[in-house]
């Protein structure tokens, strides 16, 4: 198992590289007896358990980073629109909205990784996960009141929702976790 395995990458996003290596080694040792499915389940479970511990250890930092990131997103959208299309263009347009989402993810990701140097990688990872949950909540609440009544429309609504959710995950949580892990490993 190389140092670049997925399980190692997952574990280093929530603990130090040295500890992640020891945990992965323990799980690999038990994989011989319990099987690959057990190994995968427990890599995921251990990652979430250590993530929960990180949130519990730094709840105020986590909350502060999350609120700051969401505020930054809210502020940047109209500013970027206005910069490109003039002061009257405060409503997001489809293409610009997509570009803006990527830009926000990069800016927020860079900010969180920068903060991670001072406040801890765990706080940054915890903040990014909370951001994802807020995004998911916003998606659900935004769609509930305008759901179609026919079956095809309903299916389309949920397909769009799932795509948006996946996109949100790829743009926000994924890069942030990878970036945090890379920064963390370089610090060790």
């Amino acid at each position: 198992m190389g140092s670049k395995s997925i399980s190692f990458a997952l574990l280093t996003s929530v603990t130090s590289a040295e500890r992640a290596a020891a945990i992965e080694g323990d799980l690999l040792e038990e994989r011989e007896v319990n099987g690959t499915r057990w190994f995968v389940m427990n890599v995921v479970h251990t990652t979430f358990a250590l993530f929960g511990l990180a949130v519990a250890r730094a709840p105020f930092r986590t909350a502060a980073l999350s609120v700051a990131a969401v505020l930054a997103s809210c502020l940047m959208c109209p500013i970027v629109n206005a910069a490109f299309f003039g002061p009257e263009a405060w409503v997001p347009r489809p293409l610009l909205g997509f570009v803006a989402v990527i830009a926000f993810a990069v800016v927020i990701g860079a900010s969180l990784v920068h903060f991670a140097g001072a406040l801890g990688v765990r706080a940054a990872v915890a903040a990014s996960a909370l951001l994802f949950l807020m995004f998911a909540f916003a998606q659900v609440s935004g769609r509930l009141d305008r759901l179609s009544t026919d079956a095809v429309g309903l299916l389309r609504e949920f397909a769009t929702f799932a795509v948006n959710l996946g996109l949100g995950f790829c743009l926000y949580l994924g890069p942030l976790m990878i970036a945090s892990g890379v920064v963390h490993m370089r610090r060790l």
Partner: protein
């Protein structure tokens, strides 16, 4: 006034398992196996590692890096030891428990 850290039930179990593994070496797998052997419950690795991290941050246990073996994918083991502070906290928790249980007929013990 300095706040005391109150050990949870599972933290006590983990500390006792580490103490019981002093000779063989206490690391993730052996601690989990020891607990399973003595308590008839099968704690998840996630529960063990979060508890160990918490205990280490409270300086109740300390860890050191050990040897790597092929069946571990070349990964080194992390061995845990109970610190003097950890031992004292464990002793205090056990004394409190015994003091509460003393004299309770429901546990099948004589009146104390």
């Amino acid at each position: 006034m300095k706040m005391r850290y109150n050990l949870g039930e599972f933290e006590q179990v983990v500390l006792l398992a580490i103490l019981g593994l002093q000779d063989e070496g206490a690391y993730g797998v052996s601690i989990r196996a020891k607990i399973a052997e003595h308590t008839l419950r099968d704690p998840t690795p996630g529960a063990i590692y979060t508890t160990l991290e918490r205990l280490e941050s409270k300086k109740l246990v300390k860890s050191s890096v050990g040897e790597a073996t092929p069946e571990r994918g070349g990964r080194a083991k992390r061995y845990y030891e109970v610190t003097a502070k950890g031992f004292a906290e464990l002793k205090r928790a056990r004394q409190a428990f015994e003091s509460l249980a003393r004299g309770l007929k429901v546990l099948g013990e004589p009146n104390g």
